[in-house]
């Protein structure tokens, strides 16, 4: 009897715990609960034309993944408001990569073999985009990378493309910017993945070329709760400026600790400022300088307004634009090829890119299928917002 009473009492206490946990979760789940107000589709479109996308909707880059998803949603709405794709309604089947390479490949497999799409957009991390594009190439399916910048993406195959400039372009720009600001020595920290190691070497090489010194460069393992060891190594090397590139939940912790360790007394320069700031405590990144892609073309402004009107907030990262452009370019290429044939779509992509004016600027694809130029900008965080300098 006694035992049963304890059980009942314990249960009585456990129920509120579960309730408390779930209640607060309901209140704070922001994953697309607010239905976006998108233009409705042209009613004369008949049937569906499917392409695929693999994005990091969960895992450490979930924020970026959701923003990429928004870019695709906006593009699809725009396309279906007009003439659609080959007279049909464009549908983008979006799969979750969970932020890991094997899940990304599995998701691509599902898209290729079940939905049988001729083209797949994705991913965000180079470490996932590279094996995924290699898989797509082996299946003769077009791949368009809207977010990864590792130079290894040049070699993934003839049906593989990027709508974002790769690290060699970004690294040189960053080094120039640092040198122009008068810093003679820098210390670099980047994530331990192919993006991070790529950007470390491209910035270091370009900066040394200009005559500067790299006091230390390190990579951090993603997903830790503490990065003080890594940051202390940067601090102890006493450079003129710290150069960091981080994103997602790691970025939040790193920015907090940069502030706590007093590193913000010196210049901290962010590579891709906007992939870092949205997740950080505003106080920790106030006054931060950095480089980012320039999306202030005329086209870009109209798109920014469209985004803000639809989602009720400004860009949460700069990556939605590339996903938008990737979708738009694919739609145009399919229309030009007038077939669901990957080879024809790939040929059409290169062709239309010669005159394509995207929301992230002109996207001219080089013979490797990579974006050959990319407008960048130096920006600063003022009152929690990123403003170009």
């Amino acid at each position: 009897m006694h035992r049963r009473r304890i059980k009942a009492r314990a249960l009585g206490l456990a129920v509120p715990l579960v309730l408390a946990l779930s209640l607060s979760a309901c209140g704070s789940d922001d994953s697309g609960k607010k239905k976006a107000d998108l233009p409705s589709a042209n009613t004369s479109l008949e049937g569906e034309f499917k392409i695929g996308a693999v994005l990091p909707l969960t895992g450490t880059n979930a924020t970026i993944g959701k923003d990429q998803q928004r870019g695709i949603e906006l593009a699809v709405a725009k396309i279906n408001e007009g003439d659609g794709v080959m007279g049909k309604k464009l549908v983008v089947d979006i799969e979750d990569s969970q932020g890991t390479a094997d899940a990304a490949i599995q998701a691509a497999k599902k898209l290729v073999s079940v939905a049988q799409v001729p083209a797949v957009i994705g991913e965000y991390s180079s470490g996932n985009s590279i094996p995924m594009q290699q898989y797509l190439e082996s299946q003769s399916v077009v791949g368009v990378n809207p977010g990864s910048s590792s130079i290894e993406l040049r070699t993934t195959g003839s049906l593989q493309f990027s709508t974002i400039g790769l690290d060699d372009v970004a690294g040189a720009f960053t080094a120039d910017a640092l040198w122009d600001k008068g810093y003679e020595s820098i210390a670099i920290l980047a994530p331990n993945n192919s993006y991070g190691t790529g950007i470390v070497s491209s910035v270091s090489d370009a900066f040394k070329e200009l005559g500067g010194t790299v006091t230390t460069s390190g990579v951090y393992t993603e997903g830790q709760s503490d990065y003080r060891q890594e940051l202390n190594r940067l601090k102890d090397s006493k450079p003129d400026a710290y150069v960091i590139t981080t994103y997602g939940k790691d970025g939040t912790v790193i920015n907090k600790e940069i502030y706590e360790l007093g590193m913000t007394d010196q210049p901290v320069f962010d590579i891709y400022l906007s992939q870092d700031v949205p997740d950080a405590d505003p106080k920790s990144v106030e006054g931060r300088i950095g480089m980012d892609v320039n999306s202030t073309s005329e086209n870009g402004q109209a798109y920014a307004d469209f985004y803000e009107k639809t989602y009720g907030e400004k860009f949460i990262s700069s990556f939605n634009g590339y996903a938008y452009d990737a979708t738009m370019m694919l739609a145009q290429a399919i229309n030009k090829a007038n077939a669901a044939d990957p080879e024809a779509i790939a040929a059409a992509l290169t062709e239309i890119s010669k005159t394509y004016e995207g929301v992230t600027g002109p996207i001219v694809l080089d013979p490797d299928g990579q974006r050959s130029e990319q407008p960048y900008v130096i920006a600063e965080v003022k009152n929690g917002e990123i403003v170009p300098q």
Binding site: D29, S31, G32, L57, T58, G59, A62, G65, D96, Q98, T100, A101, D102, I105, Q106, A107, K109, K110, V112, S113, V114, S126, G127, I130, P131, Q134, Y135, S138, Q139, P191, N192, N193, S194, G196, T197, T221, E222
Partner: protein, 298 residues
């Protein structure tokens, strides 16, 4: 669609080899190996690294098997004095060490980037035919692994292993060489796991440290427990069922309206609940081990 089903079939067969291996350790001998994924990783990385240097895949499998076998024997020796739960924690730690090395030795393992573009088998064929041929090949290998596992389980050696699980003191007093028996079963299982890893890397065309996370081991535990600890057929049954369940829940977002984050949570939750449910309600699994009654239970 046929290709997708073949893909699930291939995964199930690859996992079944792994489950047979883990069943020999956990089910038959009572060795709780929480670091099974390390053996898989050794096999997968051997094949992938050698493939990137254009070495024929069969060499990669052999190198992987030798390395994994040696690692298995070492781990088996480490287990000679430990109570089973501490040995389990030690294997988990060793597997994490292997993962850290894979993550940080980027010159060798590709680091966090992993190794991609691992060429598969039957590269000359067209897509569907190739998937079918790959499936057939792996099923044949699974068949061999099954026969080996059954022979071990049902032979004299298997009875010694079960005795070690049920009553190690009695096994020792009957003058069985307990340490040597454990070392041998660990080495054999590690070789099987490395073969599974080799096929996995070739089929997915990629191996990275992300695949060496402890959850991978946990998935195989679920297969073995659901199938029935100690039963060779059960391991295969469990592997097929859990693969279908785990891969099938990939479609969960096509059925119900949940965010991707929630869908990912649901997939893991389903596996966890199934394992916990079986442990609580049907500990013996779907295909129970038969000879248990012959020995005194602990």
């Amino acid at each position: 669609m046929v290709e997708y089903l073949l893909g699930v079939g291939i995964l199930a067969a690859v996992y079944a080899i792994n489950a047979l291996s883990l069943n020999l350790q956990v089910g038959v001998t009572g060795l709780l190996n929480f670091g099974q994924v390390a053996f898989v990783g050794i096999g997968a990385y051997s094949v992938a690294i050698l493939d990137s240097h254009d070495v024929p895949w069969i060499v990669g499998f052999l190198v992987g098997a030798v390395l994994a076998g040696a690692a298995g024997a070492l781990v088996g020796r480490l287990g000679r004095t430990l109570a089973s739960d501490y040995w389990a924690i030690a294997t988990l730690a060793l597997a994490e060490l292997v993962r850290l090395v894979a993550l940080n030795q980027d010159g060798f393992t590709g680091g966090a980037q992993g190794l991609s573009a691992v060429s598969g088998i039957w590269t000359g064929m067209s897509t569907t035919a190739r998937e079918a041929a790959t499936f057939a090949t792996i099923v044949v290998v699974l068949g061999i692994a099954y026969l080996v596992a059954r022979r071990v389980r049902n032979g004299q050696y298997g009875r010694v292993l079960v005795l070690i699980r049920e009553n190690p003191d009695l096994a020792a007093s009957l003058r069985h060489n307990v340490v040597s028996a454990k070392v041998r079963v660990m080495a054999l299982s590690a070789v099987m796991a490395s073969v599974c890893g080799g096929f996995y890397a070739m089929y997915i065309s990629f191996i990275g440290p992300g695949q060496l996370l402890p959850f991978a081991t946990f998935l195989i535990f679920t297969m073995v427990v659901v199938g029935g600890l100690g039963n060779t057929t059960g391991a295969v049954v469990g592997a097929v069922l859990i693969t279908v369940l785990y891969d099938g829940t990939r479609f969960v977002r096509d059925w119900i309206d949940v965010s991707a984050d929630q869908a990912a949570g649901i997939r893991i939750l389903v596996i966890g609940v199934v394992l916990l449910g079986f442990l609580l309600v049907r500990t013996e699994g779907l295909v129970p081990e038969k000879v248990k009654a012959a020995h005194a239970r602990r």
